[in-house]
């Protein structure tokens, strides 16, 4: 047998050894056999995720937030259940969630206690942390979150324009050279046609379909 050449028999033998080795390796699945596997939207409700948000009622408290504003405020607060919805949508939808109604009750109590929308949001942020807000506040590091897409796009646009300008310069400087090679007479400063363009032009004149 010629050394260094893989024939079918040697290949099969080597393959068999590899497969046997693979079978002996402890099955990786066993490492996390008990891992929770649940289907889409099969959400477990950790009812302990709810934390009461309460503040003492202000003296001579009058509600500063009307019902529609309160609903809007709740749309800015994320329900503490894993549904990813805001409090208003979660409590008026059906995810069998007991958390969003409780958070809604807290909002209603704070509204009745004379607190403004900003004060209510601040109270919820203090208790739950920043993640209770449906979108990060535009301050500090979060500004990067809002700015990076536009900055990146701006850099991309600048680079693209620079590239296009370079290509245009190169094309303009190449036109005289192309003109001398062209199979078509060039007049009036018209750029030369490439072979591919000529082929497509002739096809179009003949009425062939666009491919």
């Amino acid at each position: 047998m010629q050394t260094g050449v893989i024939n079918r028999r040697r290949f099969l033998r080597a393959g068999g050894v590899c497969v046997a080795g693979a079978m002996l390796v402890p099955r990786l699945a066993a490492q996390e056999a008990n891992a929770v596997q649940q289907g889409a939207a099969n959400i477990e409700m950790p009812q302990t995720a709810y934390k009461a948000v309460s503040l003492p009622k202000k003296a001579n408290a009058k509600p500063l937030v009307a019902q529609l504003e309160r609903d809007e405020l709740e749309r800015g607060l994320k329900c503490a259940c894993p549904c990813k919805l805001d409090v208003f949508t979660c409590r008026t939808t059906d995810f069998a969630c007991g958390i969003s109604p409780a958070m809604h009750s807290d909002v209603v109590r704070l509204v009745d206690g004379g607190y403004s929308a900003d004060e209510i949001i601040a109270a919820f942020t203090t208790v739950y942390g920043e993640r209770v807000l449906m979108a990060p506040v535009k301050e500090g590091f979060n500004i990067a979150g809002y700015a990076v897409p536009f900055v990146t796009l701006g850099i991309g646009a600048t680079m693209l324009v620079a590239l296009l300008r370079r290509w245009r310069r190169e094309t303009e400087s190449a036109v005289p050279a192309l003109a001398s090679k062209s199979v078509l007479p060039i007049s009036g400063g018209m750029p030369a046609a490439t072979d591919d363009e000529m082929r497509r032009l002739q096809a179009a004149v003949r009425g062939e379909p666009d491919r």
């Binding site: 929770v36 094309t171 490439t194």
Partner: protein, 678 residues
């Protein structure tokens, strides 16, 4: 059959390993018999994956609850159609479904190229083998649908009620077809990079595959929106959830590629960029799967803390490193003579369009990953929800919509001032007229107004293009308007199919803008009580509670509330929303109660009702909303799909050649020839 299926899964892994090894060996040594063996291994892999799938379907239909998968996602009283779709209702089954589609696509790609692209194909087959090894290996070692329980339960847990919807029987297969479809162009890109054959040949081979992938992703995304809208009950169709964002980023990259491929075909430019986009679309499909299945990011669709995340992250890193090295070492091979005569040309417009599409893809990915980045940098968990994505992506989306209208109006190579003026007059007038009419009617919201002006502009552009082409044909060939329009599209499928896709995009943007005027109400009604509301179009509606009824149907107990509805005093169809408690065959509750929404749909708006619960014995709590223009999302999706079909529909090669021969015959007339070839 079930045992045979389990065994077939293992054999399919061996076949995929063989497929990869001999194909790469055949490519490296240029030995035809190895390449042929690799091709046959592809078909064998498909055969064994099909057997493994049949085995699982058999287990589902025969209620073999000894399998953990069957016991977890079905029950004895589950309707048959959902026994079929239960295949992809859980993680391990959906992975097998993914492998099934990939094996099928691989076999078709290998078969259809068996006599073409001979230098590329061994590397393409080998790369598809690598991807198959990864998926089948992950299924076997980390998410095996054939895993057995230590005891056999009398009944299964049943399927999540929200998955018991016709949309769920279609949406995941469509999405998977689209996502898995990115593997074929990726494999060709690897083949082209390895063999350094980076001209337009490999692009010709993958153009249709990219279109197929794009087509299915489009349908999958729209069906997903529809399912979320009618089934989840939160009243919208897009929540910027990671599982929605993942296919969207892949779709955006593919859309960019389908535009930039034209520049490489026509001008030979953008070779590096096109290779990058093909690779990015595939990597994003793997990244998206990793994000949604690893539990690293919170998602409604997350499959909890699954071990397959480790497999996906390893594979992702491996593929990223290999492709980066390949691209970096082939940069010189991808050098092309760039020719650009003007910044205002079709070529430049395509590049601006690519910039915005990739910019949106990046911003969506960035927003999806930002919670992880923030936690890593600041140690603080944050939520990045719809307000963030909307604030970033609405301006970018409007920029994209503008380019959708501008691109077709600009000539290739160089647009003269006269050309620009002539082309833009009608579309700009169409856009401004739309905006003016809406402002006169009282619309004041900034972004929707801009959106509708741009929608008018895009529709104006498309109408003008169709009008000019049809009128030219009517003049030249004396055809009537219907024949001229059909032949115009038939003879220029890429161009006019593309315009039809653009029309679908405009319709969807119009629907998105309309949704900004949604009105919703939190309502509590006792039997006989009335709620009055005014919709965004100014119509007065009344909703009178007809009371609550309770009954059992199929595998569920139902509590339903009905509302008698009038609009401007005229009676409308009764609205009814249900709360369902699903039970197993022993009448035991399986899941938390779910809700079926009540819908009255028209092209102008939907009246959407969600029964959220009972407050007292006779008092129902519900959410009522007027959702404007929602149907235009579904119509727009259909129009995009039709446009996509037109673009990828094959030309009749023989007939065209026949026409060409006829034309060269002395004395024949061009119009006759064109008619024959059309």
């Amino acid at each position: 059959m079930i045992l045979l299926g389990e065994l077939s899964l293992w054999v399919s892994l061996l076949m995929a390993i063989w497929m990869m090894t001999v194909s790469y060996a055949g490519g490296a040594t240029r030995r035809g018999e190895l390449v042929l063996s690799g091709q046959r291994a592809t078909y064998a892999t498909l055969f064994f994956v099909v057997m493994a799938s049949i085995g699982l379907w058999t287990a589902l239909f025969t209620h073999d609850f000894s399998l953990k998968f069957v016991a977890s996602y079905t029950s004895a009283n589950l309707p048959k159609v959902y026994l079929f779709s239960a295949f992809w209702a859980g993680q391990s089954g959906s992975m097998l479904f993914w492998a099934l589609i990939l094996a099928g696509f691989s076999a078709v790609a290998v078969f259809s190229n068996r006599a073409k692209n001979r230098e590329l194909m061994p590397w393409v087959t080998g790369t598809l083998g690598v991807i198959l090894i990864f998926f089948i290996g992950t299924i076997i070692f980390a998410a095996n649908p054939y895993d057995r329980l230590e005891w056999v339960p009398p009944d299964g847990r049943g399927m999540n009620p929200q998955l018991q919807n016709p949309g769920m029987a279609i949406h995941p297969p469509m999405l998977y077809l689209g996502w898995v479809g990115t593997s074929i162009p990726f494999a060709f890109a690897i083949g082209a990079l390895v063999t350094r054959r980076l001209d337009t040949d490999w692009l010709a081979a993958i153009r249709r595959w990219s279109l197929i992938s794009w087509f299915f992703l489009t349908i999958g995304l729209v069906l997903g929106m529809w399912w979320a809208y009618v089934e989840l009950g939160w009243g919208g169709y897009w929540a910027w959830d990671p599982v929605e964002n993942a296919p969207l980023t892949s779709w955006l990259c593919q859309t960019a590629f389908l535009h930039s491929i034209m520049i490489q075909e026509k001008r030979g430019m953008l070779r590096k960029w096109n290779v990058t986009l093909v690779i990015a679309a595939f990597l994003l499909s793997i990244l998206g799967t990793f994000l949604t299945r690893s539990g690293v990011i919170e998602s409604v669709h997350s499959f909890a803390q699954s071990p397959i995340g480790n497999y996906f992250s390893t594979f992702l890193i491996l593929i990223f490193v290999v492709t980066t090295v390949l691209v970096m070492t082939r940069l010189k091979d991808m050098e092309a003579k760039a020719q650009l005569e003007s910044m205002i040309s079709r070529e430049a417009a395509f590049l601006y369009n690519n910039l915005v599409l990739v910019g949106i893809a990046f911003s969506v990915l960035w927003g999806t990953l930002f919670p992880i980045i923030s936690e890593a940098v600041r140690g603080t968990k944050i939520t990045v929800g719809p307000p963030f994505f909307n604030s970033v992506n609405v301006p970018l989306g409007l920029g994209l919509l503008a380019l959708t209208g501008i691109g077709p109006l600009i000539a290739w190579r160089r647009a003269s001032v006269a050309n620009v003026r002539r082309q833009f007059v009608f579309p700009v007038l169409a856009g401004l007229t739309t905006g003016t009419v809406l402002m006169v009617l009282g619309m004041r919201a900034f972004y929707p107004i801009i959106a509708y002006i741009l929608v008018g502009f895009v529709v104006g552009t498309i109408s003008q293009e169709f009008y000019k082409g049809t009128a030219a044909r009517m003049r030249m060939y004396a055809e009537n308007v219907v024949v001229a329009s059909l032949r115009l599209i038939g003879n220029n499928r890429r161009r006019y199919g593309g315009y039809i896709v653009h029309l679908g995009v405009a319709m969807i943007f119009a629907a998105f803008a309309g949704f900004a005027f949604k009105k919703e109400f939190d309502v509590s009604l006792k039997t006989g009580e009335v709620f009055k509301a005014t919709d965004p179009f100014g119509h007065a509606w009344t909703f009178t509670s007809q009371g609550v009824s309770e009954y059992k149907r199929l595998n569920r107990y139902v509590t339903a509330v009905g509302l008698a509805v009038t609009r401007d005093g005229k009676p409308m169809p009764v609205l009814s929303s249900e709360k369902r408690q699903h039970v197993d065959s022993n009448d035991q509750p399986t899941f938390e109660p779910s809700t079926e929404v009540g819908l009255y749909e028209t092209t102008m708006q939907d009246v959407y009702m969600v029964f959220s619960g009972m407050i007292g014995p006779d008092q129902a709590e519900m959410r009522l909303s007027f959702n404007p223009l929602v149907w235009w999302v579904w119509y727009g999706g259909m129009v995009m799909a039709i446009g996509g079909l037109i673009v990828m529909w094959p030309q009749a090669e023989k007939k065209r050649q026949g026409g060409y021969v006829t034309m060269l015959t002395p004395g024949s007339e061009i119009p006759t020839t064109v008619g024959a070839g059309a």
